[in-house]
Amino acid sequence: MNPGAWRPAIAMASRNLRRNRVRTVLAVLGVCIGVLAVAVLGIFGNVLALGADDAIGDIGTQVVLSPNADAGVESLSEADIAAIRRAVGEPAVVPLYSDGAVVSGPTEQGFATVYGVEQPGIAFEAAEGRVPERHRQGAILGAGLAADLDVGVGDRVEVAGGQTRVVAVLAESQTFSPVAPDDAVFLPESAFAADGYDQVLVVSETGGEARAAADAVRESVNDREERVDVFELAAIVDEIDEFFDLLGTFLLGLGGISLVVAGVSILNVMLMSTVERRQEIGVMRAVGVTRRDVLRVLLAEAGLIGAIGAAIGTALTVLIVAALVAATPAVDAAIVLDPTNGYYLLLALGFGVGVGLVSGAYPAWKAANERPVEALRS
């Protein structure tokens, strides 16, 4: 009705708050702690989720296709590979031969999976040496196998009786997958005499792309006949994400409890303050101040407590999070600076002010609606 009336109301409210400083400061502190709890726990949960996403992201980006033995498909032909490429579109498709063989170094020897791959560079990264775009000669060793055999780039190894030279050692893999590169050796396709592929890796940029690729394979390649088994971890990643969502909500709930406690303390402060100032409010009403304006003054008091507490709490949250980043090298600064964390700051700020207004509403309404005749009676 009259937005201009808020200004005198806020001016009057701030003076009333200054009258009992200790009480005001304590109520502000309550909101501050509540907001701090919501914001810090919210951001904490979010950082955990983001960090986990970052760490397990690779799992979700690979889809492994293999021939469906149940349907009598023993291997995947060039035609199958072409169909898969058409189906998945953007993501890279890496067909693999696979076999098992004894691999020996100069001193040690062990059993390893042997893959035949033409384009290892798409799917794997080297820790030592260089993974060639097109694999024509030599062996690429998984990190685990290289360590077991105690060999490095340039050393000679014997794979199933044939001598070859190590051209690269792969970085340790962080994915769970039927294609486990750590204990495998990758040879050029020419080393295999087989006429069909045993596995196909589909490497995507994101989990969403991997899921789409897997769905596309199910729909087109497996349309008439279940030719391939589709193995994807995106579904597991979804479950993990869900868990972190739940964890985030749980942490936010914990913070919320302290905010509710802060709300109760505002309620208490406002009730005490309106009871103490009963006569003053009665005088205001008697000399012609409307109930609406009395309500305005008292709501402004509660709102100010909430707003000041929320502002301080938010500022403290920023400091605490900054200190956390500075003190914990393990926490990636990029994750903490993620814009979604700002959302938790705003959420906590809004909750703080909201808690003030909601808890102030009842005492304000009660005081504003008291009959001045009753209030003036000493």
């Binding site: 009259n2 201009g4 009336a5 005198p8 109301a9 009057m12 003076r15 009333n16 200054r18 009258r19 006569q279 003053e280 005088v283 205001m284 009403r285 008697a286 000399v287 012609g288 101040v289 409307t290 109930r291 304006d293 305005r296 009959r371 001045p372 005749v373 003036l376 009676r377 000493s378």
Partner: protein
């Protein structure tokens, strides 16, 4: 036309027992513009109830209430608030200034939430009451007489028709009380009806008319009529009406 008038007004409170307490019994009262009326009577005679009913803080059970000729017997809460702001000034025994506001802000309090700034008007009112150098003082920095002057200035901020005073000199020494009464004299001379409830004989000296309230029955309520129409036999109930303005005696209605 009277500034304020009560016609056959009765105010009953639900008492502790089955009998309601009669605080005002068929009261007729009329006050001319510029008239100073003192209401006297023993405590519990219903004086404060009378002021509350006159001041639109409380509604009569029966009868009519007129403010400058307009019937204001039954108004909504909001209408009563507006009518109080525009037409009625209050002066209390305990001054009742807001401690967080300066003198000038206290004077402007009734208009504080209205568009426009009444500070100039409030300041000139205070200057009129000799408080031009106290504009920004808080109530704790003012003497009793100064506080009461601030309260009178507040009551006049909206040019009221009626000024209602409850024991205006009750908390002041004789000299200060006299100076406050001199202020009422000036207010009255500007055409504002002044009704003061009092125990103070000094107030009676300044008043144009003294009316007596005993057990809710008012004597001499109408001007120019004498006492004929409202003779009281004093045979009303012994129950005390509630004293809403500063009288420490507990009233039955407080138990509600």
């Amino acid at each position: 036309m009277y500034s304020v008038a009560l016609e056959d007004v009765t105010k009953r409170y639900p008492g502790g027992g089955t009998e309601p307490v009669v605080a005002l019994d068929a009261v007729d009262l009329a006050v001319d513009p510029g008239e100073f009326v003192a209401v006297v009577g023993p405590s519990g005679s219903g004086k404060s109830t009378l002021l509350n009913v006159l001041g639109l803080l409380d509604d009569p059970t029966d009868g009519r209430r007129l403010l400058s000729g307009t019937d204001v017997t039954s108004l909504s809460v909001g209408e009563r608030t507006t009518a109080r702001k525009e037409s009625i000034g209050f002066v209390f025994q305990d001054f009742h200034l807001l401690p967080t506001l300066t003198a000038v802000e206290n004077v402007a309090l009734p208009t504080a939430f209205d568009p426009g700034d009444a500070t100039d008007r409030a300041a000139s009112l205070l200057e009129r009451f000799g408080l031009g150098d106290r504009l920004d003082h808080e109530p704790t920095e003012l003497s009793g007489g100064q506080k009461q002057r601030v309260a009178i200035a507040r009551s006049l901020i909206n040019d009221p028709d009626v000024l209602l005073a409850d024991e205006p000199t009750g908390n002041l020494d004789t000299d200060t009380g006299e100076s406050i009464l001199a202020e009422f004299e000036r207010v009255r001379s500007e055409g504002v009806a002044v009704i003061a409830v009092t125990h103070d004989a000094l107030v009676e000296e300044y008043a144009d008319r003294v009316v007596e309230l005993t057990d809710g029955v008012l004597v001499g309520g109408k001007p120019r009529e004498g006492d004929d129409g409202n003779e009281s036999d004093g045979n009303e109930s012994d129950d005390e009406g509630p004293d809403l303005f500063g009288d420490p005696s507990p009233a039955p209605s407080e138990e509600r």
